[in-house]
Amino acid sequence: MTKTYDDRTLALLHELFASATHDASAAMCRWTDGLITVTLDEVRRVPMEEVAAALGIGDELLTMVVLSLQGELGGSLILLFDEPNGRQLAASLLGRRIGADPEWSELEKSAIAETGNILGCAYVNALTRLIGADLLPSAPCFLQDYGVSVLEQAVIAQAMFSDTLLVCQIGFHRQDEDLDWQVVFVPTVEMQRAVEQSFRAAV
């Protein structure tokens, strides 16, 4: 079967992000003393109005770390947890029990933000190596907000050009267990075009 132009672009993007995610997984594994790894679940195009549902992001408040991979071929990285999972990760990183205080301490926020930073830097290094992108990670931003609101901001640049959005969904695993955390990477339009250009050149 002849692959469509879009199928081939998605396949190339999948290959690119799978390779970058492999590097990010190694970084995550080192950060968590071998406990946590990440894998690329899917790269797909989703109708704008369905993007939150497609990523399993409901209308509840979530704990998130957001950072931008700044540069022409970059994007936005959003690390998402619900409250219990976020507190659990912070506790394990700090080597202590989950705090009794419902408010996050600055140390807990910092531990989660650093997790985002570790992942973001791993993706920057991998994408720089794989496609020669000139990228700089922004400082990680710790947020507790509606996941849909944050996702909207991340996809705005794509939404200017299309009613279908390209997103990468990355899952977390602890040994054999899938964790209810995820990373969403939203590439810039320029990155998509760069991949499409490389497909055209190869055809």
Partner: protein, 163 residues
């Protein structure tokens, strides 16, 4: 065309990015907003309303979902209300959203531009704006009640407020 999602609470519809939903008493229309605008138009006598989830300020003639741009959403909303028997005269508008997320850094900051565009289009259409809850750096969950035209706005760490 994908229609807004009706929840198991049969009177509530979720309006996704670029969508517009219409409803009558006792239906409620809901959206979660970042830099996007949730714009509600309401006819108080007929208890009929629409909620648009507007993403960008100006279509500049581009195609897209009718609710995606301020300049295409409002005319479409007026058409939908007309189909429900609600003329443009007597309508009121409430809007929420337009946040600048990630505290001013990160991807394209378009919240302020969205607010300005929606208010401009409302003025051109002669629809009176009677409530607004915009700006800031946090997301909003809005619920518009077609029973009485109330828009309830929820933000993290704050008590709900009504427009």
């Amino acid at each position: 065309m994908i229609t807004p999602t009706t929840s198991a609470k049969t009177s509530e519809k979720t309006v996704g990015m670029g969508q517009i939903a219409a409803g009558r008493d006792p239906e409620r229309l809901r959206a979660i907003l970042g830099s996007c605008i949730g714009l509600a138009l309401y006819h108080p006598r007929l208890k009929a309303g629409t909620l648009a989830h507007i993403v960008l300020p100006d279509s500049a003639g581009r195609d897209g979902l009718p609710g995606k741009f301020a300049d295409t959403a409002v005319p479409r909303m007026l058409d939908m209300l007309r189909e429900l028997g609600a003329p443009a005269s007597g309508l009121t508008a409430k809007l929420a959203g337009g946040a600048n997320m990630f505290a001013g850094s990160g991807p394209l900051q378009i919240g302020d531009a969205n607010v300005e565009a929606v208010e401009r289009v409302l003025r051109s259409a002669g629809v009176r704006l009677v409530g607004r809850d915009v700006g800031g750096t946090s997301g909003r969950r809005v619920t518009f009640d077609c029973a009485d035209g109330t828009m309830t706005v929820e933000q993290a760490g704050q008590p709900p407020r009504s427009l």
